[in-house]
């Protein structure tokens, strides 16, 4: 009796720890908007190659992140997965041996002589690339395949521009013009600007756009390195942007704590003239208001000294499990998924910008072309050689919220960041 009980308990424990062997390529993802398109592509791939691919959706993204981390701990990652977060997180997965280096596969030419890398946007690959010398001590290589690209520009509503007597084909180019446009919109009873600043990464993105515009990339990165103080006038000017927004009543009060989905709803339902949002919004706005007439613009320049840049690059990327039994099949599937035809299909179904260069020519939707033209102005923290510590960035984002509610001045925030940095 005793032995039987022990045997049963051991059997349960051993079977619980055993890795499940499956006869398909497993993919875990978090992209609810792309679930149906992925399933359709999996069917197409099975019909073409006989290899079964199963996409499993785990949403929302925080739950997905937790699942991936837990799977990494127990060595139960699927064949293909994605890592959400910063480059530091991707580096941790790579250093722990969970992610395959795709460099060899990327360089290998196909029957037409083109390598996989040649077909993809360099900016999209850049986010998954680690150079020979990097702060994360990751071996040089390309560790992910981008399945789409994105950028985060400013958006404006053409119809609301017309209602305020503004030229819908001529958005503001400078900060002073933006304030002027804002006054005219307000006179016409139209809210000026809203964004999901409750999700602080949007604040961070806009703040760094202006930091680059005012100080230039090198000076911003030197601040991260500790060579330039946050009390520098360039940073004070960067934070003054947000003080101006409050002073001139350009931002809706709700924006400070608003989640992005609500900000998207405000813009889509024409309650606000300007927004700051990423190219994924095309599908969202279409769902909320198919008649919305809008266009993209770079954030209006505060300074003429440096170019205005916006965040962009790979939208979502898939990685291959370095320990996967079906590693080669997984890589082959990703190569097929990022080929022009499949990318065009994904773009048409989900209205995201494709990561394949040739697919971009197949796009017909005007607003997507508009977004794609902004790709020449992109940058992203994941491609910077150095990034700022999370605590400092969080303090900056929260501090900007405090500026927007009048609790802090730009100088106070700059000094606080400098104290934290030291």
């Amino acid at each position: 009796m005793k032995n039987l009980v022990i045997a049963i308990i051991l059997a349960i424990l051993v079977s619980g720890c055993a890795r499940e062997e499956v006869d398909y390529v497993s993919v875990w993802h978090w992209m609810t908007d792309r679930a149906d398109a992925f399933d359709e592509l999996a069917i197409q791939y099975r019909d073409k190659t006989g290899v079964e691919v199963r996409f499993e959706l785990y949403a929302p993204s925080p739950s997905y992140s937790e699942r991936i981390r837990a799977a990494a701990q127990t060595d139960n990652l699927p064949d293909i997965f994605g890592v959400l977060g910063e480059k530091r997180d991707l580096a941790s997965f790579i250093n722990a041996g969970h992610v395959a280096n795709l460099s060899g596969y990327m360089e290998k030419p196909d029957s037409t002589g083109l390598s996989w890398r040649d077909t993809l946007f360099p900016a999209a690959l850049e986010i998954n690339k680690f150079r020979e010398v990097n702060v994360y001590e990751v071996k040089e290589g390309i560790y992910g395949a981008p399945i789409d690209i994105m950028n985060i520009p400013m958006l404006y509503n053409k119809r609301l521009f017309e209602r305020a007597g503004l030229d819908p084909e001529r958005p503001p180019l400078t900060w002073d013009e933006f304030i002027e446009y804002g006054q005219k919109l307000k006179q016409a009873g139209i809210n000026v600007f809203s964004s999901g600043f409750g999700e602080t990464w949007l604040i961070e993105s806009l703040a760094y756009n202006y930091a680059f515009n005012i100080m230039g990339e090198e000076k911003v990165l030197d601040t991260f390195r500790g060579d330039v103080p946050y009390s520098d006038i360039g940073w004070v000017h960067t934070f003054t942007i947000f003080e101006d927004m409050k002073k001139h009543n350009l931002i809706t009060e709700d924006s400070v704590t608003m989640i992005n989905r609500l900000a998207e709803q405000q813009f889509a339902t024409e309650r606000v003239a300007f927004s700051f949002n990423g190219s994924w919004c095309v599908n969202v706005y279409r769902g909320m208001n198919p008649d919305l007439e809008y266009s993209t613009m770079l954030p209006p320049k505060y300074s003429d000294e440096h170019n205005m840049v916006i965040w962009g690059g790979a939208g979502s990327s898939f990685l291959v499990n370095a320990r996967a039994a079906r590693k080669d099949e997984a890589v082959e599937f990703l190569r097929w998924l990022t080929a022009d035809e499949q990318q065009a299909f994904l773009s048409e179904e989900t209205r995201n910008l494709p990561s394949n260069k040739d697919s971009l020519d197949l796009i017909e939707e005007e607003i997507l072309i508009d977004f794609s033209q902004r790709m020449q102005h992109i940058t992203h923290p994941n491609v910077w050689p150095v990034t700022e510590e999370h605590d400092i960035r969080e303090a900056m984002n929260r501090g900007i919220q405090q500026i927007l509610i009048g609790e802090r001045t730009p100088e106070e925030l700059a000094n606080r960041l400098e104290r934290l940095k030291n």
């Binding site: 308990i9 999700e199 400070v256 999370h390 609790e407």
Partner: protein, 294 residues
């Protein structure tokens, strides 16, 4: 093996599943979180660096945001203890009387708790929004536009707004438990008191309240533990802002864990927070026992 030992073993075998579940889902995670709180670890790397009590030292000496988040949670908890439970008791007391449609009220009051915090947050976003929110529209129609504001972005009202949303959602639990408590009081005690000429107030203070002390104790413990762990409503409404005005301990732990990948430090926060809840619960148990005795 004689018969007595066999019975003894058999009896223990019945307990084994529960003990195993306790070890796997409670004791082991508890041990693990204490172990993690003593290391520096990013949550992925196979290497953990032992750093002793450094994480705890930092929490107690150099992390004002953490203590601010604790203060915020205590504020919401205090409001919930007084207003949520006060209103729950009032409603349970009314429904306990023989009023018409009391099953209907029971269902209505219990609807908010079964909604997810995210859904509740989104509903209240529509109510409390500054420009188009229902509350402000109502205030404007009542000629009280001076009171209208962006409730969740205003530093003076953000945390109280969160507390109101939380109380709205949590009211149903307290209501149900208090109603069950009221219904367990024998009716003949009330009848005897009324025959003796006791008024409604005296009946409540001399009979209902003393007999309800164990129920009050359960409700208040659940309120404290539930409110101190508030998180999902904040994610769906303010994200912890504006500034740090609606940060709570769980949001700090998650930001530390997933935002900055400091799993060791987040675990230490979890241990500190767990101990705080334990101390509060022990104090409350002692107070409740003292009240029961007197």
């Amino acid at each position: 093996m004689n018969r007595t030992t066999k019975d003894y073993v058999k009896n223990y075998l019945f307990v084994v599943p529960a003990v195993l579940m306790f070890i796997v889902f409670s004791a082991y995670p508890f041990y693990k979180i204490i172990e993690l709180s003593l290391v520096r670890w990013d949550g992925i790397s196979p290497v953990m660096q032992f750093i002793g009590l450094d994480n705890f030292t930092h929490i107690f000496t150099s992390n004002p945001t953490w203590w601010l988040s604790v203060r915020n949670a205590l504020y919401v908890t205090a409001l919930a203890l007084v207003f949520q439970n006060g209103l729950a008791l009032f409603l349970a007391y009314i429904v306990d009387k023989d009023i018409k449609g009391k099953n209907f009220y029971r269902t209505i009051f219990f609807l908010p708790p079964i909604l997810s915090g995210i859904a509740v947050g989104i509903i209240w976003n529509w109510i409390l929004q500054g420009d188009y929110g229902l509350l402000n529209q109502l205030l404007i129609r009542l000629n009280l536009s001076g009171l209208a504001r962006s409730w969740m972005s205003n530093p003076r009202t953000a945390l109280t707004s969160i507390a109101v949303i939380h109380m709205w959602q949590g009211l149903g639990w307290g209501f149900l438990i208090l109603l069950a408590g009221l219904q367990s009081i024998p009716r003949d005690i009330y009848e005897a008191a009324r025959i003796d000429g006791a008024c409604e107030f005296k009946v409540f203070t001399k009979i209902t309240a003393p007999l309800m002390i164990p129920t009050f104790f359960i409700v208040s413990i659940l309120t404290i533990l539930g409110t101190m762990r508030i998180y999902d409503i904040i994610v769906a409404t303010t994200g912890g802002g504006p500034g740090y005005h609606t940060e709570v301990p769980i949001s700090r732990i998650i930001a530390t864990m997933l935002g900055s990948s400091r799993f060791g430090y987040a675990s230490a926060m979890g241990v500190v927070f767990g101990l705080m809840l334990l101390v509060i619960s022990i104090i409350q148990i002692k107070m409740s026992k003292k009240m029961e005795r007197t």
